[in-house]
Amino acid sequence: MIVSVASGKGGTGKTTIAVNLALSLRNVQILDCDVEEPNVHLLLNPKISKEKTVYTSTPSIQEGLCNLCGKCADFCNYNALFMGSEKVIIFPELCHGCGGCVLVCPQNAIKEEEHVIGKVKFGFARGLELVYGELVIGKPFAVPVIKEVKRHINKDKTVILDSSPGASCPVIETINGSDFCILVTEPTPFGLHDLKIAVQVLKKMAVAFGIVVNRANMGDKKVYEYCEEQDIPILLEVPFERKIAELYSKGIPFCLEMPEWKEKFQMLFNKIKELTGK
């Protein structure tokens, strides 16, 4: 079973929920797909056993062969190639790495060069297998790093994927292929507004989902009204407690110090099993 944890709004507690759920179950692999700001390892302190570098390809032009025909720049839908008066100028940060320019060049003047865009790290902690990605600062290529992280999914285990916030490419890439998605929200207008966006994404993707309400005793009741109207299951509520916040600030998953929560997370997982029939 593959379960992803996403949110729309940032800072609602995705990582907290993902890690505490992972620690409450057996035979789990957790993958941190928030490669821009990975945090799962901070709560787990894993021993890193292996690292892998992630590359992306961008074009480079052999000027001796280029006859300035302009076909590459015409083809590129991302404006990553620009026809200068004397040579083709490349903007690697706009390149998506589709390889189309190489195919259209009649002179065979374009080659692809590999660039380092991130790392994937492998480790173990507290009986969990952890895989996480780390995007190189300044590189706009989160998606290929997420793809590399997900290549290491171990289907013999319960797999938990921690997503980045938002509702665009990195989130889609993370959730794609999941059996279920947990949306973590908070009962505030921002939480609700961004939850509605995330719900639309999941409906488009046709992935089953349910809600965890974090800091459930703060804010208002509108998230609950919305879930009832839309018939969205609420899987768990976690209250705002100073102790939980303080533990998080020190990098301690709260179910380790408050073991009664492990049972609640197991119940949450049982609900997911019921909802997915797995």
């Binding site: 821009e36 189309g100 998080y248």
Partner: protein, 288 residues
């Protein structure tokens, strides 16, 4: 003209709350909400939309079943795994590159433009605002952010305004890069948690990479004073100004529930006072 960005790395540290408070304090700045995936600033500033534009940020491959000879070449050549085994295009994975259109021997594939969001120009009590909405699940948010910033600059020039305040998305990926490149200064809003510190360092790394002057603010600093001290020392060692330490106060959530900025809802609160002090420091540093 100065462009001032509020960012965070980690989500939910209080970017939008602080941006909205700055909007009130600045009285007449141009505001830009660059969190186009999950924009929230409008809920505090209640903009009146004056102009709406469609955003055609990307294209989508369409296969003509009648022409398709089921050779699978498109499936093999697509680097985004956007063509399924039954030879249909997955719109969520398709990045609109067009490789399939040139490799198809039957010329059965074309690219069509798709509307993937909307760009708005609005008026608020505190100045004009540029914002947008990316349709859920669409790609190319970086391009949409660039459009929002262009609109903000256009508004600033038209209104002879010399300050743009930008609310950023979380993370350090493409929409954040599009939000900070070329900006004059950036405030990283962090919290005194291990994740907050980790993400702060990466966000500061991003500002350094793009040569944007950094400031730091620790929100909810009293949740863990030891970690706050670590942030202060780290910033001092790196020559970065910590311009504010905002206490935890449920009044922030209350103001959000009332859909008001903290400066309007609780102007005398410790939070509002600290934000005001911070704004004065930032203005003097920006030489405005």
């Amino acid at each position: 003209m100065k462009e001032f960005v509020v960012l965070s790395g980690k989500g939910g540290t209080g970017k939008t709350t602080i941006t909205a408070a700055f909007a009130v304090l600045a009285k007449k700045a141009i505001l830009a909400d660059c969190d186009v995936d999950a924009p929230d600033l409008h809920m505090l500033l209640h903009p009146k939309i004056i102009k709406t534009q469609e955003f055609r940020g990307s294209k989508l491959a369409v296969i003509d079943e009648k022409k398709c000879v089921k050779c699978n070449v498109c499936l093999e050549r697509c680097r985004f795994d956007a063509i399924n085994e039954n030879l249909t295009v997955d719109p969520l994975s398709c990045e609109g590159c067009g490789v399939c259109t040139i490799v198809c021997p039957a010329s059965a594939i074309t690219l069509v433009e798709r509307v993937s969001g909307y760009v708005y120009i609005s008026r608020t009590k505190y100045g004009s605002m540029a914002h947008a909405f990316l349709s859920p699940g669409e790609s190319n948010s970086g391009k949409l952010v660039t459009l929002v910033r262009q609109n903000a600059k256009m508004l600033a020039e038209r209104e002879r305004n010399d300050l743009i305040i930008i609310d950023c998305p979380p993370g350090i990926g493409c929409p954040v890069i599009a939000s900070v490149t070329g900006a004059d200064a950036g405030l990283v809003v962090t919290e005194p948690t291990l994740s907050g510190i980790h993400d702060l360092e990466r966000a500061l790394g991003l500002l350094a990479y793009f040569h944007v002057m950094p400031f730091v603010c620790v929100n909810m600093f009293d949740i863990n004073k030891e970690n706050t001290e670590k942030i202060v020392i780290f910033c001092k060692e790196n020559g970065i100004d910590v311009v504010g330490k905002i206490p935890f106060n449920p009044v922030v959530t209350e103001s959000m529930v009332k859909e008001m900025t903290i400066m309007e809802y609780a102007p005398k609160s410790d939070v509002a006072k600290e934000i005001e002090k911070m704004w004065i420091k930032i203005l003097s540093n920006l030489k405005i």
